[in-house]
Symmetry: C2
Subunit: 339 residues, 2 copies
DNA sequence: CTGAAAGCGCTTACAG
DNA sequence: CTGAAAGCGCTTACAG
């Protein structure tokens, strides 16, 4: 294995001091143009790259961001929530554009992640993505904040919780999609998905749903059925729901993954969609448009979300005050709502 | 901001030397059990984490792997090939299990990536994922090898090309899926996707396809239509194909993404699938089962693939000889082939 | 504009 | 089993 060149090697070849090499490579205005060019030429020739570890150690930062992904406890080993996956792309790109590397890691809520990254100087800040029991989550967030770790999270906005959050307008999305169904004449509503503070995003969607029903004066016969964000959970939730309430004509799902399971359960029960029961989801994941029937849902702008996440984190690292950010959502109308 | 504790702080608190702290934290058998436990307790209490930059600098490695993802030049900013995405999960997990961090980055084939990672000690090795013009790719691979960089790539196996490759049996997959169609009585075949050395994986699939047709003695009327791996490209390729060959009854696609476009084009042309034309894909991406009709395709085990990629890279880093690896594929029969 | 020197926080021979 | 010391490869005051 060829020895890696160091700045001393370059200095030697260029006939200057190592300090000058370092300056020249960083384009310091302090160094003479000719010297700088000579040094850079030699560096290129010797295939020299600044050693990140040394540079980071000296400068006390890592120019790296860590993306921590939490998974639903039930998802199998292979599956990542497609919604988060779509954010991954823009986060990666935004980090790169800002000159930061991106470390990615899947975590369990129970892991010791809250201390790992920034404390060991592996990353200058952390992006938190994922659902999970909010109560448990919250404790860790508090610790993170106590350690002065820089972090942003994707999730429900909540003034009480620690740190800064970027999230979409779950309430409005739940409201809009329910109103859409109401406008189409639906009356007997069911919401499938957790609707309590352990899952604040789902809860906000539920509250939007409930608000729309209340304004339309049909809230009294609305029902709710728990489910976590997987296809299987949506499937079995539907079966239970149908048993308890065979008369419903509209199902609002807390996520597309749930909705996909609902669609399958209804089909297996020989219930026509949307004629007998209309179904809507939330997230606009890629399969939503391929489902049969195609799924009416609420779209969150994942590209923008990734960019804002990175931008906010960078500003936090720079020491600025950063506010929560509420992202606008859009209704995507397809066949499953019967529009 | 609270000052971060260093090993000297721990040493001070524990009343031992800093060397001993370092040893104790790394569980060195050299240090007395009591001393070790005392040191570890204090470290925990002070929330001390070994500084990665210092440790890596000293040990001359980074304990991180870099995952470089190349994209099709035409894909828009948001979309990552879902096939690679599904490998991401297992690569991340496998790295973590081996105690390595994972850096991820999207690259253009034209970027200067071949020198960036290992040379700057950011990563101990590189995993290359993605399609792209093989000719251009190959040059970079040669440079990588010349620099003694540790890398593995996902792709076609080819003894001539530099480095070690892990790939699925594209030839067999192309053969199997074509044979499946042949068994169902199809006679007039078309292959949609690039079939030349710039895209060796597609080419191998094509060759498997062609071999099956040759054995069945129907190769003389088989056609091929270029397309890159996107839905849109599959769509327009189908339209051109139909114009040239209205008589075909089976389309073998080089990828699922292409197949999804083909399905849409046939539907828009009022051609029934699979009655008039049977369609098959390759990859078994998540939407394949949601397409209408659901797509018969070839499944590559992405979980295994990710594990083997990481394992091979780690062995390369450890200085072992590593062989290419050909992964087995499975036919997934759904509706689009008319079975 | 340039150089000599200190120091970032570790790990690990070396000596005891 | 433990400590004093060197050194990984940089960046950056400090002095000129």
């Amino acid at each position: 294995m060829k020895e890696k060149a160091t700045s001393f090697d370059i200095a030697h070849h260029a006939g200057v001091s190592q300090s000058t090499v370092s300056r020249a490579l960083r384009n310091s205005p302090l160094v003479n143009k000719e010297t700088r060019e000579k040094v850079q030429a030699i560096a290129r020739e010797l295939n020299y790259k600044v050693d990140k570890n040394a540079s980071n150690l000296r400068r006390q930062h890592s120019k790296t961001l860590a993306l921590l992904l939490f998974e639903d406890p039930t998802s199998d080993n292979s599956l990542i929530n497609p919604f988060f996956l779509s954010m991954l792309g823009s986060i990666t790109r935004a980090s790169a554009n800002a000159g930061y590397d991106l470390l990615i890691s899947f975590q369990n809520l129970s892991d010791d992640w809250h201390a790992e990254y920034e404390d060991s100087n592996k990353a200058d800040g952390i992006i938190l993505l994922g659902y999970g029991d909010y109560t448990e989550y919250c404790t860790k967030l508090t610790q993170l904040e106590a350690q002065n770790t820089h972090f942003v999270r994707w999730g429900a906005l909540d003034d009480e919780h620690p740190g800064v959050s970027i999230g979409c307008d779950n309430f409005q999305g739940g409201f809009d999609v329910t109103q859409h169904l109401l406008d189409l004449g639906r009356k007997q509503f069911a919401f499938i998905g957790g609707a309590d503070s352990r899952a604040p995003e789902f809860f906000a969607r539920y509250q939007g749903y409930y608000k729309a029903l209340t304004l339309a004066d049909v809230a009294q016969c609305a029902v709710q059925q728990d489910a976590i964000s997987t296809e299987d959970s949506g499937y079995s939730a539907t079966l239970s729901l149908l048993k308890r309430h065979p008369d419903i004509d509209a199902i609002v799902c807390a996520s597309d993954l749930i909705a996909i399971g609902v669609l399958r359960a209804l089909r297996d029960s020989n219930i026509s969609i949307p004629q007998q029961i209309a179904v809507v989801g939330f997230d606009n994941v890629p399969v939503a448009s391929f489902a049969t029937p195609s799924l009416t849902t609420v779209k969150q702008d994942t590209i923008l979300a990734g960019e804002i996440l990175v931008d906010s984190l960078l500003r936090l690292i720079a020491g600025e005050e950063v506010e929560h950010y509420l992202m606008h959502v859009d209704l995507v109308i397809r066949q499953s709502s019967g529009a």
